[in-house]
Amino acid sequence: MNAFRYGLISALQAIVVFVAIACCASTVRADEAPSFSERVDLEPLGTIAVYGEGRLKSLGSHANSMMQFVTGPRKIAGQDSLFTYIDLMLRPEAYVDADLVYVKNRSVREAIARELERLAAADPTLAPDMAERMNAFRATGLTSPRFLHNAALEPLFSKLEADVIRTARPVSEIRSALAVAEPGFLLGKLMIVPPASKSTDDQWHSVGELMLVPGATTPPAALTRLVPSNGGMDPTAGIPGIDSALQGQIADAWRAFVNAWLAQDADGVRTASASLATLLPKVAEGSDLYPEQSRLAWESWYFHMDQLTSIWLVYMLSVVFLLLGLIYRWTWARRLGVGVFVVAFGLQTFALLLRWYISDRWPNSNMFEAVTTAAWFGGCAAMAIELFVRRTPMKSLFFLGSAAASMVALMTAHFLPVYLNPNISNMMPVLHDVWLYIHTNVIIFSYVLIFMAAVSAFCYLAWRMVGGTAAYARVGGAGMLVLEPGSKRARAGEAPSIGEVLDGVTMVLMELSFVLLWAGIVMGAIWADHSWGRPWGWDPKEVFALNTFVVFALLVHVRLKVVDKGLWTAILALGGAAVMLFNWIVINFVITGLHSYA
C-alpha cells in the first residue's frame, strides 16, 4: 500500500511542477519591449464576418482554419493565427525564410531534411546553418517556404507523390500549404464584403475587389501587387450593385488598415479595424444576412482562447485532490476535489454551450466535438450518479472517473489539434439527420462511461497490485445501490474495502454503458438503414462497436463464473475500454470506412 502511495505522491509532485512551469512560461518575456504583434489589438476585427466554405464565420475563426493549412498546429513566433494571416498577406517578405510551413508526416519530413542537407552540402549558399535548421525542422515540423519552393526538391516530391498510400498526401498538403501562404490567395479568401443581393444564395466578395475603388484616399503603391486579376475587369469598378459611396468608404478603411499595418502602427490598425467592422455590415443592411456581431465576437474569443481546452488543467487539479481523498481518506481533499470538479464542469459546460451558440448546432459532428462532448456527458453522468451515491462509500469516485476522462479528452484536443480539428465547418449532407443527434450522442455517452469504468478498474488493479485482497462488490452494479443499504453487512455497520467500492463503481458504469452501447448500436443501424440502405454493413466502425459490446458481454458472463470476480471485471473493463479506444483512434485514422467522417 505504501509503495502505491509513494508512487502516487511522486506523480502528483511531477504534475504540480509541470503546472507551475506552464503558468510561469508566459511571464518569461515580460521585461522585453513589446513587438508589433503584442501591441496590436485585433479585437475590433473579431466582429467582422468572413464567408468560407458555405459558412459565415468570424475573422479569427477563419484565420485559424486557413493558417492550419500552413502552420498546422503550430503558432509562428507565438503570434495569434489572425495576426499571422494578415502579416503573411501584407508583409510576405518577412516570412520568405521563416519556418512557416508545417510538415506533419515524419518520414516525409525526414526525406525533405536529408535532401535539403544534401543540397546545402553542394551549395552552402542555400543556408549556411542548414544542419541546425533541419534539426529544428525534424523536431517541430516547421520549415521555410524558400526551401520547399526550391526546384531541386521537385524530383523528391515527384517520387513521394508516386506512393499514393503513404506519402502522396503529405506532399499534396505541402503544395496546398505553399499555395495558401501566397498573399494573393489569402486576400482572395478574405471574403468579408456581403453580396449586393443580400441573398443567402450568393457568394460574398473579397475585400481585394475594393482595393482600388475610388474613395477619399488613394491606394498605396504597396497594394498594387495584391490587386486581384478580376478576370480582366476594371479593378477600380468595384462590386456592381453596392452603393459606390459605401464601397469608397470601405476601400478607404481597408487602405488605412493596410497602411497602418505596413507602418506597424498599432493605433492606426485599431482605428481602421473598427471602421471596417462598422462599415461592412452596412452592405447587408435591411436583411438578416450579416451575423450578429456578438456571436462573431464570441467566436473570435473562443478561438483566441484555444477553444477553452485548457480546462484540462482544472480537471487535473480535481483528479489530484480526488485521488488524495481516495487514498488517504482525507475529507478536505475529497471535498476540494469535488469543488474543483464542479468548477471545471461549469467551465466545460460554458465552452460547450458557447460552441453550440457559435456553430448553431449541437457539437457532435466531428472528432473534436465528439471527444469533448463525450467528456461533458461523462460530467453530467457523474453529477447525476453522485446524487444517488452521496451517502454510500462510492461517493466522489464517479467525479474522479469523469475528471480523468475530461482531462484526457481536453488534453488530446489541446495538444493534438492535427487529429482533433477544432474548426467549425459545415456538416456533410449525410449528417443532416435527427439520428445524428440520437445515435451519436448515445454512442459517445456509452464510450465515456466505458472510459470512466476503466478509470475505476485501473484504480482497482493498482490497489490489487499493492496488496489489496481479492474483494468485489457482492451485489454488482445498480443493485449495489438498491440492495446494499438494507444488507446484513450494512445493518452491522461494516464498511466495505476500497476494492469492493472500486469494483462496485466499475459495475455501475459498466451496466449503464452496456445498455447505452447496445441502444446506440441499434440506433445507428436504424439510421444506416435509411441512409445507406442497410442496417448493418460490417463496416469496421460498426464491427468494433459490436466488439466492444462483446467484451462487456464476456465480462457479464465471466463474472458469473470466476472466483476472483473483481480482478476479471477490472481486466475486462480495461479490455473493453481498449477496444473502444481502438475503434475511436485506429479505425478512424488508419482504417477508413463508411464512418470516416465520424
Binding site: R55, T200, D201, V522, H530, G533, P535, W538, V550
Partner: protein
C-alpha cells in the same frame, strides 16, 4: 454414495450447450473472428520485433486463399456456424438454467431478443441484393427529315445520344450528314421569353454541322433544347457583330430554326437495370452479343477473385521493376446461359488483375519491318540530380515531344527534309509584282503581340538587299502554333496580319501551303472553298523548322542515324551526330543522352500492374481486368465496366464503353464486355431533375458547400406505360418502390475538359441511386429492442424486485418476531 447414472451423448451435448463457459468461449472466438475480418492482422516480418518497420498490417480475408469482402467473410460458413452455436447455447442455457421467473424476465428478454435478431439477420442477409443504378437526366433524340418527291417531309434517319457535354452523334442520309455534338448543358438555364420569365430549365446546346454534296447548304449552328419546353427550341448562329458574336436565329433570320431538316428533342433516359455491388459480394459477369445486336446477354462468372493479381505467365503483363508476378493462372469456365446467342461457346477466364492500366512498350522489330523510330532519352538537370527518363515516338505527333515541348523527336526521309527541319523558324514574304522576296527568322520578330508595329515590305535593290522604298505592303505576326493535330496529320501555322494597298486582313499561313487561307468573313464560311486567299498579290510561306522545340533529335534518312539539332537564341541551329549512350551537356548544366533507340520499334500493349503503393484507394475495381481465353482465338484482357451500356452513344461523363470484338476459329464474331451482374428493376426509372441544395453562399464547387443532393425520379408503370409523378430521393430520405428501396448515392459534379477535344461540364446530368431490398429488418429491430428492454430490466428492475421481496421477508420476520415476543 450412489453411483452416478451413465450419461448419454445427448445429455452431454445438452450439458455442453448449457454451459456458461462454452458461451464465453464462443463469444471470445466471435471477438477474434470479427477483429480479424474487420481490422485485419498485424504480424512481424523481421526478428527485431521492436523496430516499427518490423510489423506489417494485412487484411487476412483478402489473401489469395480467401479473396473475401467483409460481407463474404461475415457470411462464410465458420461465421454462420459460430453464430448458430451461440444461438443454440443461448437457447439451451436459457431453458435449462434460467427459471422463467419474474426476476429473470430480463435475461429471458435479452436472450430471446438476440435470438430474434439472429433470425432477422438470417432473413435479411439470406435474401439481400444491393446495387446501384445510373440514371441520366435526358437523351437527345435527333431525326433527319428528307423531302419526298411529293413535297412531304419523311424521317430518313434518327439517332439518340446522351445529353452530356462532348457527346457526339451523326445523322443523315443520301449524302447529307449532320455532325452533332453536345456543346454545353446548363442545368439551371434562366428562360428569357416573356411567358417563361423567371423560370429555369435544363438546357442542352447541340452544335450542329451540316455537310453534304451541295456545299451551298453547308452550315453550322447551335440548337438549344430545353427539357419540358420543346416549344422554346431555337437555333443560335454566329454573327458579324463583335459585341454579340452569337445571335438567336429568330432575331437574325426571323425564324427560330435555321434548318428544318434536322429535328431534335429531349426525352427521358429510362434505366431498367441496377448493377450489383462487388464491394459487397463478388458479382462479376461477362456480357456477350453478336455484332450489330443492341442488347447484351449476361453470363455470371463464379469464382473470379477480387483483390489479388493472377496471370498465367509473366509475359502477359508489364510490371514495375522488381515487382514481377509469380504465375498463378486461373481456369474459370464462363458457360452459356438460357437464351444465350452462343449456346455452344464456353469462354474461360485465365487471369485477373485488380488494378492495371494499359501501357504500350516498344521492342525491336525485324530489320525489314516497318519504320517506327522510338527513342529513350535520359535527361539530367545536374550532376547530383536524378535522371529523368523519357520515351518519344517520332511518327506519333501526340508522343513526339517532351518536357513541355522543350525536346522533340522527328524522322526525316531525305537530307532536304532534314535541312528544312533543322532550321530556325522563319517566314518568307513575296510580292511577285514588285520582285520582293524576303525571308525573316521569327526570332528577330515580335511574336504574339497584336499591337506590335507592322514590318514594312521594302523594294529590293539589284543585289537583293532592301532599298528602304516602301511598297505599301507590311505584315506582323499575331501568333504561331506548331504541330497542330489534324485528322490528316499535323500542321504548323503562323497567323499573319497583312497590310496591302487595298486594306488589312489576316492570313493563316500553314507550312503546307495548300491549307493557307485568309480569315475574311467570306472565305471563312466555306472551309472547302477552292479559293482560299483573297489577295494573291502577296505570298507568304511559313517554315516552322524546329518549331517550338529548341532541342530536337532527328532520325533519318538512314534509319540508324541520329542527329541533335539545338537552337538557343537567334541564328541557325547547331547540329551534331548523336550515338546511343552518349550524353550531351548544355552550358546550363542540363544534359541529354540516348539510353535506347529502336528505328523499327514494334508496339506491344499489355496491362501494366500498378504497384500497390501507387493505387488509389477510392478506385475500387474500376481498373480491374480479366483475361479471357477465346476458343480458337487469341486471349484478350478485358477492362472492367462499371455499367454496361448498349452503345457508345449512351455513355455519360466519367464512364467508358470499350467492348472487344473477338473472332472465333470458325469465323464467327462475338462482342464482349466485362462488368458486374445486373438485375432488372421492378419498373424503369427516369430522372426528372437533380437538385443540389447548398449552404449559405451557394455551391462554389467545393464539396463542403453542399447541403443535400436530391434526385427527382419517375417510375414507369409497366401496365399503362405511363410515368409516375416525380418522387424526391435525397440523402437520408430513401424511397420504396416495387419492393426495393432507392437511395441517393452519387452525383455528376462539374468538371473541366479532360483534353483538347473535350468540353467542360456544369454537371448534374445524371444521378446514381443505391438500390436494395431489406427483408427482415423489422424482425431484427424488434429483437434488438426486446434485448435492450431486457438489459434495462435485468440491471435496474430486478434489484428493485429483489429489494421489495427482501423487505417483505424482513417485514414478515419482524412481524413474526413481534408476534413471538
Amino acid at each position: 454414495m450412489p453411483a452416478r447414472a451413465p450419461r448419454g451423448p445427448l445429455a452431454a451435448l445438452l450439458d455442453l450447450f448449457s454451459s456458461v463457459w462454452f458461451g464465453v468461449i464462443l463469444l471470445a472466438i466471435l471477438f477474434v473472428y470479427m477483429t480479424i475480418g474487420s481490422a485485419g492482422v498485424i504480424y512481424p516480418i523481421h526478428p527485431n520485433i521492436l523496430h516499427k518497420d518490423a510489423w506489417v498490417h494485412a487484411q487476412m480475408r483478402q489473401w489469395r486463399p480467401f479473396e473475401m469482402t467483409e460481407f463474404e467473410w461475415f457470411h462464410w460458413w465458420p461465421f454462420d456456424l459460430l453464430i448458430g452455436l451461440i444461438a443454440v447455447n443461448m437457447i439451451v442455457t436459457t431453458f435449462r438454467r434460467i427459471p422463467f421467473k419474474v426476476v429473470n424476465y430480463g435475461v429471458w428478454m435479452i436472450h430471446s431478443g438476440i435470438i430474434m435478431m439472429i433470425v432477422g439477420c438470417v432473413i435479411y442477409f439470406g435474401t439481400k441484393v444491393e446495387g446501384d443504378a445510373l440514371v441520366q437526366r435526358r437523351m437527345v433524340f435527333a431525326e433527319f427529315l428528307e423531302k419526298q418527291p411529293d413535297g412531304t417531309m419523311k424521317v430518313a434517319d434518327r439517332v439518340a445520344f446522351a445529353a452530356t457535354p462532348g457527346a457526339r452523334a451523326v445523322v443523315g442520309s443520301n449524302g447529307t450528314r449532320y455532325d452533332l455534338e453536345v456543346a454545353s448543358i446548363d442545368p439551371n438555364w434562366e428562360m428569357r421569353s416573356e411567358e417563361a420569365k423567371g423560370l429555369t430549365a435544363y438546357s442542352v446546346n447541340v452544335d450542329v454541322r451540316r455537310s453534304g454534296n451541295d456545299v451551298s447548304t453547308n452550315t453550322n449552328f447551335m440548337r438549344q433544347l430545353l427539357a419540358g419546353h420543346p416549344e422554346h427550341t431555337e437555333d443560335v448562329i454566329r454573327s458579324n457583330d463583335p459585341a454579340q458574336p452569337m445571335q438567336r436565329a429568330k432575331k437574325a433570320l426571323g425564324t427560330p430554326l435555321v434548318d428544318e431538316s434536322i429535328r431534335m428533342s429531349l426525352d427521358y433516359a429510362p434505366q431498367p437495370w441496377f448493377y450489383l455491388r462487388p464491394e459487397l459480394e463478388k458479382c462479376w459477369a461477362l456480357y456477350i452479343r453478336k455484332p450489330g445486336e443492341s442488347t447484351w446477354t449476361e453470363r455470371p462468372i463464379e469464382g473470379l477473385p477480387l483483390y489479388n493479381d493472377y496471370v498465367g505467365s509473366r509475359d502477359q503483363v508489364f510490371t514495375a521493376s522488381g515487382r514481377e508476378l509469380a504465375p498463378s493462372p486461373l481456369d474459370i469456365a464462363i458457360a452459356p446461359v438460357e437464351g444465350d446467342p452462343f449456346p455452344d461457346l464456353t469462354f474461360r477466364a485465365s487471369g485477373f488483375l485488380r488494378y492495371a492500366i494499359d501501357r504500350a512498350q516498344y521492342r525491336a522489330g525485324a530489320p525489314t519491318g516497318p519504320l517506327n523510330p522510338v527513342i529513350q532519352l535520359a535527361l539530367s538537370s545536374g550532376a547530383d540530380a536524378p535522371p529523368i527518363s523519357m520515351q518519344l515516338e517520332a511518327l506519333d505527333p501526340r508522343a513526339n515531344k517532351g518536357q513541355g515541348d522543350l525536346i522533340g523527336f522527328y524522322y526525316v526521309d531525305s537530307e532536304a527534309a532534314f535541312a528544312k527541319r533543322a532550321a530556325a523558324p522563319s517566314i518568307r514574304v513575296r510580292v511577285p509584282a514588285l520582285g520582293v522576296d524576303v525571308r525573316e527568322d521569327l526570332a528577330n520578330l515580335p511574336l504574339g503581340d497584336p499591337n506590335a508595329p507592322f514590318i514594312a515590305v521594302q523594294k529590293p535593290a539589284a543585289d537583293g538587299s532592301a532599298t528602304g522604298d516602301q511598297t505599301g505592303y507590311a505584315y506582323r505576326i499575331i501568333a504561331v502554333q506548331d504541330d497542330i493535330l489534324l485528322s490528316t496529320g499535323t500542321a504548323s501555322v503562323a497567323i499573319v496580319e497583312v497590310k496591302t494597298p487595298q486594306g488589312t486582313f489576316r492570313r493563316w499561313v500553314f507550312d503546307d501551303a495548300r491549307l493557307t487561307r485568309d480569315a475574311t468573313d467570306e472565305l471563312m464560311k466555306d472551309p472547302h472553298a477552292a479559293q482560299a486567299v483573297s489577295d494573291a498579290s502577296i505570298e507568304i510561306e511559313y517554315q516552322p523548322g524546329l518549331g517550338s522545340t529548341p532541342i530536337a533529335v532527328i532520325a533519318g534518312p538512314d534509319p540508324q542515324r541520329l542527329r541533335l539539332a539545338t537552337l538557343m537564341g537567334k541564328g541557325a541551329p547547331t547540329v551534331r551526330d548523336l550515338t546511343i549512350g552518349e550524353a550531351v551537356t548544355f552550358p546550363a548544366g542540363f544534359s541529354i543522352g540516348v539510353a535506347n533507340y529502336l528505328p523499327r520499334a514494334v508496339r506491344d500493349v499489355r496491362p501494366f500492374v500498378v504497384p500497390m503503393e501507387q493505387r488509389d484507394r477510392d478506385a475500387g475495381v474500376q481498373l480491374a481486368q480479366m483475361r479471357l481465353d477465346v476458343p480458337g482465338g487469341d486471349p484478350v484482357w478485358l477492362p472492367f465496366h462499371q455499367y454496361v451500356f448498349d452503345s457508345a452513344l449512351e455513355v455519360p461523363r466519367r464512364h467508358t464503353f470499350r467492348p472487344k470484338l473477338l473472332t472465333l476459329a470458325d469465323g464467327r464474331q462475338v462482342e464482349v464486355i466485362f462488368g458486374r451482374q445486373r438485375l432488372k428493376l421492378p419498373s424503369d426509372i427516369a430522372l426528372e431533375e437533380f437538385v443540389l441544395d447548398a449552404h449559405i453562399g451557394g455551391f462554389t464547387g467545393e464539396q463542403s458547400t453542399i447541403r443535400d443532393y436530391t434526385s427527382l425520379v419517375r417510375f414507369r408503370d409497366a401496365s399503362s406505360d405511363a410515368w409516375s409523378e416525380p418522387v424526391r430521393v435525397s440523402v437520408n430520405k430513401p424511397v420504396e418502390h416495387g419492393g426495393l428501396s432507392y437511395f441517393q448515392a452519387q452525383w455528376d459534379p462539374p468538371d473541366q475538359p479532360r483534353d483538347a477535344n473535350d468540353r467542360g461540364s456544369l454537371g448534374l446530368n445524371y444521378t446514381v441511386l443505391g438500390v436494395g431490398n431489406r427483408h427482415g429488418v423489422w424482425t431484427m429491430l424488434i429483437g434488438t429492442c426486446i434485448a435492450c428492454i431486457g438489459m434495462g430490466y435485468a440491471f435496474y428492475v430486478k434489484p428493485l424486485i429483489k429489494r421489495r421481496r427482501r423487505d417483505e421477508v424482513m417485514a414478515s420476520l419482524a412481524g413474526a418476531a413481534k408476534e413471538g415476543a
